[in-house]
């Protein structure tokens, strides 16, 4: 039996029956990482000793029969989420040697469950990007075609699951960073409702948008991880007291909205066909398909690339060479700031800091930031109106499958357009899931299922039914 092929549930059953131990599982994954990671570059750090120690601990728990479903199951963590005493680089030179002083709340929760953490996965620098190419430590390659990107920013987390180098991984999603790489790599990616999972210990990008979520082989696994990491946290004021309850939602009579704006232009015909076929499948299972309109969609990208970078320009001011990270010597304090940031940050991060600083600067605030916030309100209201009529919304995740490494690297706007379907619901704080529903050649294509706030149960139940057909 190839242990690296198993889902969380299958691992759990095997551990329970004594077919294998957590140490067996962990060793199988470590071996696979040794064999494949050099080429894929999904992991930035592999903690062999730590993972084996956690596996031994888990095996003791398993022997006592009192253990949860994640106990002893090997996972990996996006390198923007802090795991105590391990390096946390955020894919940036500026944090190349930074060691996390504490666990993120999600890590604390996973550790309590007895999880085995194999290592930290590659990402676009500070989670900014849609291809993985912005990592200071080299791009992650797509396991389905190594000349192509794995998507981003959770590039390594997606590739690690797709290439069976972890049972599941955690990623983070600000404008599509879980769902888009999940779609490109053919796995299940869940970006939960803003506020349902604590952001404490996630290196900040855009604080009004960032959300941690799971990347898994199956919808059931997504459910298991979401249940484990969600909930109110005193250390994150935006987290919400909410307990996920699994429920079966009957597809029969369920109203599914399909926004016409998402199929208007720019989508590759083969991708459109696969997504439309998936929608038909839901219809065959009894769902009612309703064409809806989200009229403010065309403004979403511009609004996002003002609000996101504005928050970036504030959040990344902390990397000043004084408190932590790279510090370049300078003749005075200002010189230390200028040099540390100038040498530490990569091109895309600098670009976004500049956009944000520009939009917030005196004389431009009303035209950019204020306007973008108003548009964000319009987009929210579009979704509010839509959810009066429908239960879920189905859209593509991306207008195209994984593109070639280097193809869009020199054109920031072409790169930003890769997020066109994943950004609007993010501005409204809604949950969304990417479900693999087909392939163009060997390249996977995802269906995006969007729900109303805190209706992950509906999304997951419906996704599971489509997954089974």
């Amino acid at each position: 039996m190839d242990l690296t092929k198993l889902t969380i549930r299958q691992c759990h059953e095997g551990l329970k029956k004594g077919d294998f131990t957590s140490v067996d599982l962990t060793k199988a994954f470590l071996e696979k990482i040794k064999k494949n990671n050099k080429e894929l570059n999904a992991y930035l750090l592999v903690d062999e000793a730590g993972a084996l120690a956690q596996a031994e601990e888990a095996d003791k728990k398993i022997e006592s029969k009192d253990f949860g479903i994640l106990c002893g199951v090997p996972c990996a963590i996006k390198d923007a989420i802090m795991v105590k005493d391990q390096k946390c680089t955020a894919g940036s030179k500026i944090l190349e040697n930074y060691v996390a002083p504490y666990d993120a709340t999600v890590i604390e929760k996973l550790k309590k469950e007895g999880a085995v953490i194999l290592g930290k996965t590659n990402l676009d620098e500070f989670t900014m990007g849609g291809s993985g190419e912005n990592s200071a430590f080299g791009p992650t390659k797509n396991p389905h075609d190594k000349t192509r990107v794995s998507g981003g920013s959770s590039s390594g987390s997606a590739a690690a699951v797709a290439s069976e180098m972890a049972v599941y991984t955690l990623g983070s999603d600000t404008g599509g960073s879980i769902r888009q790489p999940a779609s490109f790599c053919g796995i299940v990616g869940l970006c939960p409702t803003y506020g349902s999972v604590s952001r404490y210990g996630l290196i900040a990008h855009g604080s009004s948008l960032d959300q941690i979520g799971s990347m898994t082989k199956s919808v059931e696994d997504a459910k298991i991880v979401f249940e484990a990491i969600s909930g109110k946290d005193l250390k994150d004021a935006t987290s919400v007291d909410y307990k996920f309850k699994e429920s079966e939602v009957d597809l029969k009579g369920l109203k599914i909205g399909v926004p016409k704006e998402y199929f208007a232009k720019g989508i590759e015909p083969e991708v459109e066909k696969i997504v439309r076929d998936a929608i038909k499948k839901a219809e065959k299972l009894g769902a009612k398909i309703i064409e809806i309109s989200l009229p403010s969609t065309e403004y979403a990208l511009a609004s996002y690339y003002i609000i996101g970078p504005s928050e970036i320009s504030a959040n990344l001011a902390r990397f000043d060479g004084i408190k932590y990270g790279l510090s370049e010597p300078g003749k005075d304090l200002l010189d230390v700031y200028l040099k540390s940031k100038g040498h530490g940050f990569g091109a895309e991060v600098k670009r976004r800091i500049m956009i944000g600083t520009y939009c917030l600067s005196s004389g431009y605030y009303d035209a950019y930031y204020k306007k973008a916030q108003e548009v964000r309100q319009l987009i929210k209201q579009d979704f509010e109106k839509a959810f009066e009529k429908v239960d879920l919304i189905f859209t593509p995740v991306s207008p195209f499958p994984a593109f070639k490494i280097g193809e869009k690297a020199d054109d920031p706007i072409a790169m930003y357009l890769a997020d066109i379907y994943t950004i609007p619901m993010k501005l409204a704080g809604l949950p969304g899931l990417s479900l693999p529903v087909g392939k163009v050649g060997k390249l996977p294509v995802g269906l995006q299922i969007i729900g109303n706030h805190f209706q992950e149960n509906k999304i997951l139940s419906v996704a599971e039914q489509i997954e089974k057909t």
């Binding site: 504490y102 004084i322 005075d332 200002l334 520009y358 309100q377 319009l378």
Partner: protein, 93 residues
């Protein structure tokens, strides 16, 4: 196109040192991105009712939650330049 001076002004506000080559590329990129933002001009204005319906998500008191000593020590330890429990900063004046 955005001028070189404008890019340098923003870079100074952002405390970013940019090389000449970076300034040139930034002129080009920022101009293209800001041109794209012009799209927002044709977005409808919010009505008073729409503005009123915008909810404030959450506010909190600015409370100090104490950390355990181990974490505090690690936080200080992360600073590149320090003396005892103090983080050293260059003189400002």
């Amino acid at each position: 196109m955005i001028s070189k001076e404008e890019v340098l002004r923003i870079a100074k506000l952002a405390r970013l040192e940019l090389s000449d080559k970076e300034v040139e590329k930034m002129q080009k990129d920022l101009s293209a991105i800001l041109d794209y933002f012009a799209l927002l001009k044709k977005a409808p204005k919010l009505s008073k009712a729409q503005i009123a319906s915008a909810k404030v998500l959450s506010l909190r008191r600015d409370e100090i939650i104490s950390q355990n000593r181990e974490v505090v020590e690690k936080l200080i330890d992360a600073a590149p330049d320090k003396k005892d429990d103090y983080i050293k900063v260059k003189t400002i004046l």
